[in-house]
């Protein structure tokens, strides 16, 4: 579809709306921030701080996101934009991006994540009268645009550009506290690993292009399937190199090295954002690249590689999380493990040759949605504790039950959900991806599922180590921890959603099942 057609097609416009509106909103926040900083005596900042403006622009975005997902599901054909040449004489149309339900589902997750992170930032900055806050929020919004574009990309070049766009915004955000060495270290490490993995990915992409003479994912698939590719080992090497770039975004072992340091040093809301929104986009591009460009029918056997990486990611993530003394690092390792669980859904979908009746891909989406709410909830508690105690060490959680029963109890719920215990969202996510694995009836996936459930038992150990500190160690008498209204509202909302996704699972399951089209 070209642009003149697009404008006439109202459902298509709805699909595109979130990206366009977010871009405009980002520019608006950026300009406003610049003006407000230069306004005499910070009057403008006082009257309308950039965070309020950001909340004001992000709330409608969630509605646009829902509308986009709905219209992507209801449209008879997938909306594709920006035709490119591709192979001469190829019957397949080649487009740079497409707005399909899967992409829109994960984009919606990223948008919701951004809104929650903006609200959390409000508390996080608090009375820090930091200049350049406009930049921060503008970058966050631009990063969301990048995440959506990444989820929608159907072309190697577009994937590369979106990943770079997303990464650049994230580097700056991770290093936002310029004067804090930890924050600078976070940004630096994130940048160095990012530069390395994007170079690897670009190299892989160039090899794929060399082998198939196209950068379009669908055309790559058809060339590989027709056996016209020059060499299968080379194709496999290329796919592995591209996986390095995608694995970096997902914090998948062995591309996870940056995660603990970056998670620890970055401003906590940014950590939360990286763990949910950035990851959602990474999941979308992983699913799209692996399932459409190199589907299981082609000779390129990435399946075993992902199978092993998934198992290693879970096991290593959970094992190392046990020894952590800082909750942000612990959650970083936990997020490395969580990616392992999510990939089970992807593997199940691949093993069933993208059969929509398989639970795997829907499971991945449900898991991503569950993870969004439970992890944001956990980070909201971390922010509340950090604001009061100035620390994110586990020691700060001793006796939290006495200091704030609400925070402690909420944290238990989020941890239960992260560990996959009913009746919480995490349970439904795990149930669904395991169901996908068992449904295929394949032995390798059954073994992976067994490794996964063993891992969820391990994860209970370190999550409940924090619970133990909060509830069973009285500690010295310390002052209670107060909570601002927005943060309290955020936590309550995340609690409701964490329970609702399991107890009233109908809508989420329907939505995810309808969104497995990519």
């Amino acid at each position: 579809m070209d642009l003149s057609q697009l404008i006439k097609d109202s459902t298509a416009m709805i699909c595109v709306a979130p990206v366009l509106m977010l871009t405009v909103a980002g520019l608006l926040v950026l300009m406003f921030g610049v003006i407000a900083d230069r306004f005499p005596k910070g009057k403008l900042n006082h009257w309308m701080p950039p965070e309020y403006l950001s909340i004001a622009v992000m709330v409608p975005m969630v509605i646009f996101g829902f509308a986009a997902l709905r219209s992507a599901i209801l449209r008879p054909e997938t909306l594709r934009l920006f035709p490119v040449g591709g192979q001469p004489g190829s019957p397949l149309p080649a487009y740079l991006i497409q707005f399909d339900p899967l992409a829109m589902f994960l984009s919606l997750a990223a948008i919701i994540g951004t809104l929650v992170v903006v609200v959390m930032s409000l508390e996080y900055f608090g009375d820090h009268n930091q200049r350049n806050r406009g930049e921060y929020f503008a970058l966050l919004i631009f990063a969301t645009v990048a995440a959506i574009l990444l989820a929608c990309s159907t072309d190697l070049l577009m994937i590369y550009l979106s990943i770079e766009f997303l990464s650049l915004a994230s580097y700056v955000l991770a290093a936002y506290w310029k004067d804090d060495p930890k924050s600078s270290e976070a940004g630096m490490k994130y940048f160095l690993f990012g530069a390395l993995s994007s170079a690897l990915m670009l190299y892989g992409m160039s090899m794929l292009y060399g082998l198939t003479n196209t950068t379009n994912l669908a055309q790559i698939a058809s060339t590989l399937a027709s056996g016209q590719a020059l060499s299968t080992p080379a194709a496999l090497t290329a796919v592995i190199l591209v996986l390095a770039g995608i694995g970096y975004k997902l914090a998948l072992v062995p591309f996870h090295m940056w995660a603990p340091d970056t998670y620890e040093g970055a401003p906590t809301p940014i950590t939360a954002w990286l763990s949910v929104a950035s990851k959602a986009a990474g999941l979308a591009v992983a699913a799209r690249f692996l399932l459409t460009a190199v589907p299981m029918r082609s000779d390129v056997d990435w399946y075993t590689i992902i199978l092993v990486l998934s198992a290693v990611s879970m096991t290593l993530g959970n094992m190392v999380a046990i020894t952590q003394k800082n909750i942000k690092r612990m959650l970083a390792y936990s997020s490395i493990a969580q990616v392992g669980y999510m990939l089970i859904g992807l593997l199940a979908a691949a093993a069933s040759h993208n059969n929509p009746a398989n639970f795997g891909l829907a499971g991945l989406l449900i898991y991503a949605a569950s993870y969004l709410f439970m992890n944001l909830g956990a980070f909201a508690v971390v922010i509340a504790v950090e604001r009061k105690t100035g620390s994110s060490d586990l020691a700060a959680y001793v006796g939290l039950m006495k200091r704030s029963p609400f925070l402690a109890a909420s944290m238990v719920v989020f941890f239960l959900s992260l560990a996959g215990m009913p009746p919480t969202a995490g349970f439904l996510g795990k149930l669904y991806v395991f169901a996908g694995a068992i449904q295929t009836g394949q032995k390798d996936l059954l073994i992976l599922a067994i490794i996964a459930v063993a891992n969820s038992v391990i994860s209970v150990y370190y999550y409940f180590n924090v619970v133990r500190l909060m509830f069973m160690n009285e500690g010295e008498a310390k002052s209670p921890i107060g909570l601002s209204k927005p943060l309290r509202a955020t936590i309550i909302l995340m609690l409701i959603l964490t329970f609702a996704i399991c107890l009233a699972a109908g809508p989420v399951v329907s939505l995810a099942k309808a969104s497995v089209i990519l």
Binding site: M421, P422, I438, V453, A454, V460, M472
Partner: protein
């Protein structure tokens, strides 16, 4: 037609817990009495349910009473389905009976009473839901719901090694649960499309034939692991002594009285009806594990110096009888009557062990409150000093060792009678357990109550009104079902016949 009584029984404690949150924690007595009053509502309702229960009616999986069946997550084939038959009615009664007793006993709790009573009420919902759920998804939710409150009850109000015991209990049980979860999913996909988590549909469909032999075995052993950890069957019992010893008295009562029964209930409700062929194929390993539990539990109990640990190991022994009954009931080539007898014995033993061990743990709590030790060798001669306590304790010990005229005897007798046709050897070996049990319990009575009075305990006060109130109903039921077992057996028997009829 839907009946709401089960929903009310299950969720009234949870509703009570939610209301409890609004009582300020500066008013501990209001909190305690509120929780106690709330916990009596399910008891009354469960008695009403029992009185209205039609004993002769069709049993699971052919029929169910007080049923409610509403779509819950229709996209996944999950229903809100609850109902009871002869297996679950006594268990629900047992649960609703023990919880108020525990709460009354817990009136002495002084640290963080609000959280304590809150957790206890949530725990009650989890237990009652487990015994009522007929949908596997729903069952699993309730099953896991019992873990977290018990973790906190052990971890906050327990003994010196409480944190270790709490996480050990949690992790061990969780290993079993997650294995069960994978088995549930395998069963789910084996049901005819559209797939369902409905236990009755699964039991009717005869799930064994839908797997290859290997697949059926895997599913069977995964389910087995889930329930065997809870029972606990040797060698999965190692969490039990830690959890029972460290838990606060009321926590031990609930652990031994109800949570262990959830394991054997799982065998009766899920493994036997849903996988009859595999159960039959593996009856011998089950019977051998049961036998080991019986003998090992008894011998280890005899070696204990800690009174509470002794009773904890006696649970391994007593639950072994239940497992023996279950295993023997599915042995090939046994008459239906013998199967039913073994299952009656197993169920009777479940109920009897619930009240007897409940009483024993309460009495141990009583003596610990006064002496601040549970070291068996430090007592002696308490019988003359605290005669009422001594009488009750002796009665409970006699019930536990299976003295005729008390509930424990009926259960054990039926188990042995039912197991005899299945395997004379195993039955004969299992009787060793009875002898050893009698030995260590009598020895315990001797060491605690008889002999010269330890001068430390010269001023020990006798059991008080609150404690008597807690123990009395349990003693009453021990005697009632011991003298007039028909009251309970009539209900159990229909269920046993229905389960037994599934086997050839």
């Amino acid at each position: 037609m839907s009946s709401w009584i089960l929903t009310l029984i299950t969720f009234i404690p949870l509703a009570g817990a939610l209301l409890l949150m609004f009582i300020p924690k500066e008013r501990p007595n209001t909190i305690k009495w509120f929780a106690i009053v709330v916990s009596f509502v399910p008891l009354v309702l469960s008695v009403i349910m029992w009185l209205n229960y039609k004993t002769g009616a069709a049993q699971f999986p052919h029929g169910i009473q007080f049923e409610v069946n509403l779509p819950w997550i229709s996209q996944l084939g999950v229903n809100y389905r609850m109902g009871v038959d002869g297996v679950s009615v006594p268990m629900i009664f047992l649960t609703t009976l023990l919880v108020p007793i525990c709460l009354i006993y817990s009136l002495i709790i002084e640290t963080r009473p609000k959280e304590y009573f809150w957790l206890f009420l949530v725990l009650e919902t989890g237990m009652l839901g487990t015994f009522s759920a007929l949908d596997f998804f729903l069952f699993y939710v309730f099953w896991e719901l019992t873990l977290v409150p018990m973790y906190f009850l052990i971890g906050i109000w327990g003994g010196p090694r409480r944190e270790y015991a709490a996480i050990k209990f949690f992790l061990y049980t969780l290993v079993g649960s997650v294995a069960m979860l994978l088995a549930i999913l395998a069963l789910y996909f084996a049901t005819p499309a559209p797939h369902t988590f409905d236990m009755m549909a699964m039991a009717k469909a005869g799930m064994d034939g839908r797997f290859t032999t290997l697949g059926a075995s895997l599913v069977f052993w995964a389910l087995f692991l889930g329930f065997a950890v809870k029972v606990p069957v040797w060698p999965f019992h190692t969490w039990l002594p830690d959890a029972h010893v460290e838990a606060p008295t009321a926590g031990s009562v609930i652990l031994a009285g109800v949570l262990l029964k959830m394991g054997t209930y799982g065998f009766l409700r899920i493994i036997l009806p849903i996988m009859p062929e595999s159960s039959q194929r593996f009856w011998m390993p089950l019977a051998i594990l049961a036998l080991i539990s019986i003998i090992y539990g008894a011998l280890v109990a005899m070696a204990q110096k800690d009174l509470k640990k002794l009773i904890a190991y006696s649970s391994v022994n007593h639950m072994g009888y239940t497992m023996l009954g279950i295993a023997a009931a599915v042995a090939p080539g046994v008459l239906l009557n013998d199967r039913a007898t073994a299952l009656n014995g197993a169920q009777m033993q479940m109920f009897a062990h619930g009240i007897i061990t409940g009483a024993l743990f309460l009495l141990v709590g009583v003596v610990y409150e006064r002496a601040h030790t549970r070291d068996l060798d430090s007592f002696g001669g308490l019988g003359a000093r605290v005669p009422v306590f001594a009488g009750l304790f002796t009665l409970a010990c006699f019930a536990s060792l299976g003295l005729p005229g008390m509930a424990g005897f009926i259960g054990e007798f039926f188990v042995f009678r039912g197991a005899f046709p299945a395997s004379i050897l195993i039955t004969a070996l299992a009787t060793i357990g009875i002898v050893v049990t009698a030995a260590y319990l009598l020895w315990t009575v001797q060491r605690v109550l008889l002999g010269p009075l330890n001068p430390k305990y010269e001023k020990m006060p006798d059991i008080d009104v609150r404690e008597k109130l807690c123990v009395a109903p349990l003693i009453f039921f021990m005697l009632l079902f011991g003298i007039w077992p028909k009251l309970l057996l009539d209900i159990l028997n229909t269920a046993s016949l229905a389960i037994g009829a599934m086997f050839k």
